[in-house]
């Protein structure tokens, strides 16, 4: 198995929980039990109502492309061989947005509002990243 060179999240606290669900093949976000608001990235407190009661609720995994860029010239050694690649922002049906990558299309195929759905990529034995494919 070749060594995975790209940067990885630090699996600690709420971030470990978020990626833990990804490893099980589930995209979950925090949802406030007081005002029902969804949120991402993980926060200790609901920024809408200041409640600390929340749970990880499962997202439909469906959304659309909100914006993207195409990195032609990588600026991190971990991505030195990856260009061109496209970091993409997906807006999910629940309203939260995630920064991610597409698995099944070229940067030139990207269009704002394109429908997409989540897929999971186990990049190391510990870390599974949520990525997206055309829906």
């Amino acid at each position: 198995m070749s060594e995975y060179k790209k940067p990885l999240p630090e699996l600690d606290g709420l971030t470990a929980e978020f990626y833990g669900w990804c490893k099980k093949g589930e995209l979950r976000f925090q949802r406030c039990l007081s005002c029902n608001g969804w949120r991402h990235v993980p926060r200790e407190m609901c920024p809408e109502c200041a409640s600390t009661d929340w749970e990880w609720q499962r997202s439909s995994g469906k959304g659309k492309i909100f914006t993207w860029t195409v990195a032609e010239r990588p600026m991190h050694p971990g991505f030195a061989d990856a260009a061109p690649y496209a970091p993409v922002v997906v807006e999910l049906e629940e309203g939260v947005r995630v920064l991610t990558e597409m698995t099944d299309c070229m940067p030139s195929d990207l269009v704002i509002d394109m429908p997409v759905e989540v897929t999971f990529e186990a990049v190391t034995p510990e870390v599974t990243l949520p990525k997206f494919k055309k829906s």
């Binding site: 790209k6 914006t67 600026m75």
Partner: protein
């Protein structure tokens, strides 16, 4: 709220040469010390009169500045942690400090070996821990390849193009204007290197929609300013430049760039109305603007959020020479970070002071009385000062 209008002044400016070649011969601290000493000399005061220091975040600490400069009576030292928004935000804190007596004279230096030392492009992408929101970037952006500032902001630029029809040629008009101004500035790194819109369009793509010439320079250099009260400024040699209004603000959330309800909101969206209200003037009164130009689209976005034009109108606003010297609102008369040098925006404050003193030489804006300077940092923190002579 206490209004600081015209109660504090910039009384001294200092710069080193700006270069883009190996080895300025000075350390990061050495560059800043040179600019700081020049700012104090320019004000016609002694280093012993300086009792406040506001170093740029992560580029030095007040203790070492004071120890090198012989500032024996340091009683006010702090840093504003908003990246490139820090120099202008520091003007605000310095004005507050001198007006309430916490300091008599506050020195604000900034500078780095952004070319010959650790390259500007590497500083953030390889060590996000210096960022507010660095943990978020590490855990939620870097694994997907969003690793550096041009990539963060290009997400906004792309969306702006979609929502408002902003074009590559309009971003190019910004780059071309800055380069044109640099031809009038002997200290600009791009002096003697003119650029056309065709050159811009032909430059390689870095992170779509940003081409090479949408991106600021990486240079060695430092600049500094000295702030004191208007009362003290009257006794000094140079024509004081008055701080009419200054404010800073942050986007929401400031530590995460993708989940903003309003993706185009920046710290300036909050800061600009406050600064204009404090100054008692309007954007249409302004004679020139030095806008933090890390990338071309950020200029366009700040012109909109400052209220020089409406949201979505930035593309049309920057065309037709409107932002060039001789146009309706000359922007970055020194060439900016794009074509003078990347001195963290401190060079923008220095340039505004030169314009308002009438010391800008070939690039002098005729009858310049009111100028705006902005700062932009991290994930869109903003600051804005309105200066007058």
């Amino acid at each position: 709220m206490m209004n600081l209008k015209d109660k504090a002044c910039i009384v001294g400016i200092g710069e080193t040469p700006y270069v883009r070649k190996p080895g300025s011969g000075l350390t990061q601290l050495g560059l800043q010390l040179l600019a700081a000493r020049r700012a104090v000399d320019d004000a016609g005061v002694s280093l012993k009169d300086v009792d406040g220091l506001m170093p740029f975040p992560n580029l030095g600490n007040a203790e070492e500045f004071a120890a090198n400069l012989g500032i024996e009576n340091l009683r006010f030292a702090t840093t504003v942690h908003t990246g490139g928004a820090a120099p202008v935000a520091s003007l605000r804190i310095a004005a507050m400090a001198v007006c309430c007596g916490a300091a008599n004279a506050v020195l604000i230096p900034a500078g780095w070996n952004g070319y010959s030392g650790s390259r500007a492009r590497q500083t953030v992408s390889q060590d996000v821990s210096s960022l507010p929101g660095g943990g978020i970037a590490r855990d939620y952006y870097l694994p997907f390849g969003l690793t550096a500032p041009p990539q963060w902001y290009s997400l906004m630029a792309r969306r702006h193009m979609h929502d408002f029809g902003t074009t590559a040629e309009q971003l190019g008009a910004i780059a071309v204007a800055m380069r044109k101004h640099a031809q009038l500035n002997p200290n600009a790194v791009m002096h003697g290197k003119p650029m056309t819109l065709d050159d811009y369009m032909a430059s390689p793509m870095i992170t779509d929609p940003y081409r090479l010439f949408d991106c600021c320079l990486e240079t060695d250099g430092a600049a500094a300013v000295l702030v004191t009260t208007t009362e003290r400024a009257r006794d000094l040699g140079k024509k004081p430049v008055s701080i009419m209004g200054v404010a800073s603000g942050q986007p929401y959330p400031a530590d995460e760039i993708t989940n903003r309800k309003d993706i185009f909101q920046t710290g300036l969206t909050i800061a600009a109305p406050e600064a204009f209200a404090a100054a008692g003037v309007k954007p249409k009164d302004i004679d020139f603007a030095e806008i933090y130009d890390c990338f071309t689209f950020e200029v366009l976005q700040q012109l909109e959020e400052t209220g020089f034009c409406e949201r979505g109108g930035g593309g049309a606003f920057v065309e037709g020479g409107r932002i060039e010297i001789g146009g309706e609102l000359p922007v970055n008369t020194h060439g900016g970070l794009l074509s003078e040098a990347h001195v963290l925006g401190m060079n923008h404050i220095v340039e505004a002071v030169k314009q308002l003193r009438g010391e800008a030489g070939d690039r002098q804006v005729a009858e310049a009385e009111l100028g705006v300077v902005t700062g932009w940092g991290d994930f869109g923190d903003g600051s804005l000062a309105i200066l007058r002579n």
